[in-house]
Each structure stands twice: as structure tokens, then as C-alpha cells.
Subunit: 402 residues, 2 copies
Amino acid sequence: MIKDLSSFYSKNALAMKRSEIRELLKFTRKPEIISFAGGLPAPATFPVKELEEIAVQVLREKGAMALQYGTTEGEAPLREAIAGWMTHEKATIKPDNILVTAGSQQGLDLVAKVFVDPGDILIVELPSYIGGLQAFTSYRAKMVGIPMDDQGMRMDKLEKVLAKLAQRGKKPKFIYTVPDFQNPSGVTMSLERRKQLLALAYRYGVPILEDSPYRDLRFTGEPVPAIYSLDDQDQVIVLGTFSKIFCPGLRLAWIMAPAEWLDKMIVAKQGMDLCCPTYNQLIAAEYLRRGLLPRQIEAIRELYGRKRTLMLKALKQHMPKGVRWTKPEGGLFLWVRLPKTMNASELFPKAIEEKVAYVKGSAFHCDGKGLNTMRLNFSYASDEQIAEGIQRLAAMVKKNLC
Amino acid sequence: MIKDLSSFYSKNALAMKRSEIRELLKFTRKPEIISFAGGLPAPATFPVKELEEIAVQVLREKGAMALQYGTTEGEAPLREAIAGWMTHEKATIKPDNILVTAGSQQGLDLVAKVFVDPGDILIVELPSYIGGLQAFTSYRAKMVGIPMDDQGMRMDKLEKVLAKLAQRGKKPKFIYTVPDFQNPSGVTMSLERRKQLLALAYRYGVPILEDSPYRDLRFTGEPVPAIYSLDDQDQVIVLGTFSKIFCPGLRLAWIMAPAEWLDKMIVAKQGMDLCCPTYNQLIAAEYLRRGLLPRQIEAIRELYGRKRTLMLKALKQHMPKGVRWTKPEGGLFLWVRLPKTMNASELFPKAIEEKVAYVKGSAFHCDGKGLNTMRLNFSYASDEQIAEGIQRLAAMVKKNLC
């Protein structure tokens, strides 16, 4: 029997980190705990009835195709439907710019595999999406975090970092951002920042990875143009997904990129899983063909918008002075900042005692900071749970105020 | 605009190779060409009717779960069903030994990601499955090929290689084999060789990766025990899949491994795609629960067995002297060996002129050899196409005999 497994693992495998959120889920699944920790869509929004019909139709009309291997880049009707859908943001999008992926997580893994050698520098946000950090870590990228404020990533800080790197002859492989209703902070990057970001990306010759799962889930305020829609230099790679606007259980998402970049990614995906499930792709294509997506998005927006308002109200009502939080105009998450002396990681067991859960903000920081922050999800809990859960959380915070 | 894309790509990405088969498919899709080049299952075998019923049932009974994110390791009912299914080979298999993957290709990619640093040595067969070679190449493994004969991998050669490596203080990360009705050769490893392989693996402390997509598709002869069923040292990692015994369009397969190895693979899969599609997993679990798999396998065996016999008959009837081929007892492929002076790669355009296609054998050789060999698939073409296609192929070979 082989005893020392670690001598067989790759350096990448040894660097891999378990997702703190996924591990937390086991813990927070107990029915008595009100969990704001996950990031799950509300199952009440899933279009089960419509899918019953479509699932059968696809098998009846295209069974032999639906159950066969498909092409690596994705089924033509789905690529066309996605490209068509995205032209409302940018008219030049073609099906050839779309690679269908197994969720955006595969997009993150794939982009990292294609771009990152160990030690390569990536720019990320502080805080940043944990699944991105996890994928990048698994290729041993060196991540440089740029602080955010309520306008998004701070461009003065980014400029300094890029200039300093350039002085040392170094260039990041890409700049990773979730510009709309960011996970975890709920912050949306302002138009001015988006323009500055593109200008910096052009000046320093660095691609941008725009991860955009929540963009269509805006409750209030005016949409800010997507970064890729402002890009005229083919320098933005986009991750889009059906997980938050349709359902996550089909595991369908896409990478949208200039065709030249996409070609290398298609070769990479061949070796990773050959193709996404043909059946699921044809189901999604038919769902889009029937024009059901806009109505679905509208219903989700309404539901999450109401839940967000409930959570903001409860926070205002119960949280003690010195605690601040973001007021997201869309998405699934908001961000709570405790007084600097408090530590959300140390407080977590106390929250569990009070039967309420969150994710500590430091899990989203590539530099391990953000100790006084936490992420709250408002899409999954019921209205009653939101009211009750925030009350419990606030009581715990009050008790532990220094 | 960024001009020099290659300066952004990782070394792994620069090493990636396009699958010659997948590229060929475009070429061989013309309706006038009889293609023995692909490896597609016959769509006539897909259980479309049963799936129509199950697809709806799953949505009705478990819609909220089926369309939600699932656990990384796979849905409990499916892991249980797979473990249960595999106990007919080895009684100690538990659901905890199963990780559900997006096809066996993800299994190959995942195992490579977890085990392989650039330059690490892997043992493969000559010839070997092209998707394995592709996945291993994408992590820049150094592959050492071991020749095969009609009993499978040659253990005398393997022993020499392992001994020589040990002398230099080196150890392969694993030994990769497709022991049953191998893709591409159609050869099955004999029981004696399997025992020798395990003995060598134990002696040199090297894990075995047993890739077993065709094992249940035996037409004639007696089953040889699976390598993992002979293993009492927890040293075999197994790749199993529904693609060839059920259908490939759901993209469901599994890694079976000792729980300790599996744990690292689960962390790796978190970062790769979070989880496989919950909907597909519940469909497959219900299909197995209904006990439909054995009947399905029986029908596939009967069909492919007949097609194999047709192909063997046509080869015997038409091929000129000096051409040899394997007589597989199962699976989807057989292997043709032309006279040593002939080159299957150079002959390919001539075959296309005659409107028949195959895959050149050198594509399956990590050392680029096997120039006089070709792989023929017998699962996809119709009976008439098999008779006609082999006649065309034989005519082309005769014309070009030196």
C-alpha cells in the first residue's frame, strides 16, 4: 500500500484550497439554522413546468442528437441563442465568439489553465469571488488584490500596481473583475471606472476577464454599460451563465471572447471534458427560442429585489451603530463591515450558537485581510427567515461589541 | 489590440494538442463518406422512450433539487447506484469511493491535474487512448510507451522500464491502461498480465489508472477480472462511464478510488466546475433504480457484436495478403496493421478519395510510431456501410501495396 500520498500529488494539487463556502454548507444545512452563507438561487424561481414540456420535446424531436456526443464549442442552436441574447449589449457578438462551458466555474478553470503558469501575476479585486480565487490558486497564480470602494475597483491603486510591475518588466496575465453587483460585496463598478479600467488595460496591454453572472438582475437604478460593450480593442474575455437567471442544475454557462482567444480555449476544453451535455444544451436553446428568458429574469428580479429590501430594512432596524453595509442595486449578496476591532471569523461559532450563518469576508480576500467583514446572501432565505435571521445576527454582534 | 497572443498563454496551453479525431470529424461528416473514424455509439441504442418518462418524473418529483446546485462529489442516489452496480466486480466498493465526473475525459483531466507536474513520467500503452494522451500532454507529462501484443501491455518491457527508472531514482506518477477491448487496438489484457501488472505496481510503488469504458460490452469469450477487483493494496484508480453503456449526451462518468485519493480529487473538481448537472444525475440514478441498465447493455452488445462480425467477415473477404487485424471480443474498435512499408497517414487522402475514412494509428502512439496502423470503429456505421466501406478500404490498400 502506498503510504505517502503527498509525494504523488502535483504542486498544483498541493496548493489547492477547499472552498470555505462549500465546506460551510454542510455545517449550515441544519434546518434550525438560518443561513445567509450560501449563494443559492431561490428554487421557487425555477421554471419546472416549462422544462417538463421542453425536456420531452427535445427527446421526441432530437433524441438521437440530444443523447449523443456534441461538438466541443457547443451546440449551434445554443451558441446562436446566446450570441443573439448578448447582442442587446454589443451588436458585433457572433456565435463564433461563444464557447459553452459547464458553469462559469469551468470558464474560470479553463481561462486559468490557458493563461496561467505558476507564479504568473493576476489582478483581482479585494474582495473577490471565491471560486475565481480557488481556480487561480489551483494553477499557482500570484494574485495581487486591488481595494474597492463604493464605485468598484480603485483605478488609482490599479494604475500604481501596473506601473510598478511594468518598471520591473512584469505584466499581469489578466485583470479579473465582477463589475455588476459583485459577489461578495454587492458593489457595481461606475461607468467612469469602467472607462479608466479599459484605458489602463490598453495602455499596459493586459486583457480583462469580466465575470458577469448577476448583470441582468438589477432591481433599481440605471444599468451601467458592460465593460465588453465599451471595448473596441478585443481585449475583454467575458464569463456569462444561466445559473442565476435560469437555473444552475443544467450547469450551462459560456465564455465570450475574440475568436482568436477562443480557439485555444476550445482545444483546452477538448482535453477537459470533450463537450457539455448535448441534452442540456438543446433544452436551454429551446427555452431561449421560446422567448421565456426575459419573463424568468423579471420574476427573479422582483423576488430578489423584495428580499434585498427586507434585509436592508432589518439591518437598519437591528444593527448597532458602527456597523455598515452595502446597498446593492441587484444581484444576490450584500456586504457587512463590522467595527475594525471585530473579527467575523472568530464570531462565526457564536453566530452558529444563535442559529444564523454568514461567510466571513476574509475568505474573499487573496491577502487574507477583511477580518471585520462578512457576506450575506438574500436570495435563498424566506422573508420570515430574513427578518428573524438578521435580528439574531444583530443580537450576536451587539453582545460582542468591544 | 494585443497582437502576440502566445506571450499570454501558459506553457501548458502551448503544449496542448488538438484531438486529431475531433478535427477529422469535420472532414468525415460528408454524407458520401463511410466513416470508421469516429468512436460514436450507435444512436439506435439510446433509450429515448424511457428517458422521456424519467426526465419528466424527475422534474415533477424533485424539480427544485434537480435544477439547483449539487454537491461536488455527486448526488447521493447516483453515487449509491454506481457503487451498487460496481459491487458485482468488487464487493467492497462504497458510495464514498465514487466521484461523479463530466465524462471520463474529465476523469483523465482531473487525475492529471492532481498528479502531474511538468516533466513527470507516466506509463502509457503503445497504442493508447488519444483522449488520455491529450489530457496528459496538457499538463506536460513525459509519457513512456510500453508495447502491446495480443495479451495486452508487455510486462517484460514494463519491468525493464520501471527498473531503469528506479536506478535513476525516478518513479512514474501512474501506469495508464485500458485493459478491456482497448481503444484503439481492441485488445484485452490477459489475466496473467493483470496479475503481473499489479505485482509490478506494488513492487515499484506506482498507482494504476484503469480506464474502463468498454468492459461491459463483451460479445464473446469469458470476462477477465477487472484489475481493481484483483487489487488488495488500494493502488488502483478506476474510470467508469455511462457513455458507452447508456448514452454519452448526459456526460456522466465516475472516478472510483480509495477514499484518501478521492478527497483530493473532490477539492480539485470544486475548482473545475463545482459539480455535475444535478438534473442529469437524478435522471441516471432513476434509470439505474428502475433496473434498465442490464437490458440496455444486452441490446448494445448484440448490435455491436453483429457489426464486429460483419466487419471481420468483410476484412477477411477483401483485404490483400500481408494485412492483419485484431479480432476484439468486445468494445467498439479494431486495429489494422498494414505491411511495414505502408503509411496510413499518407494513405488517408486516398481513402477519402475512395469515400472511406479511418484514424491513422500513429495518432495513438505517444512516440509517433505505428505508421502502418489504423483504427476502425464498427459501432456507428450501418451494416451495409460496413460491407461497402471495407470493400472500398481494401481496394485502396491493394492499389497502393508496394
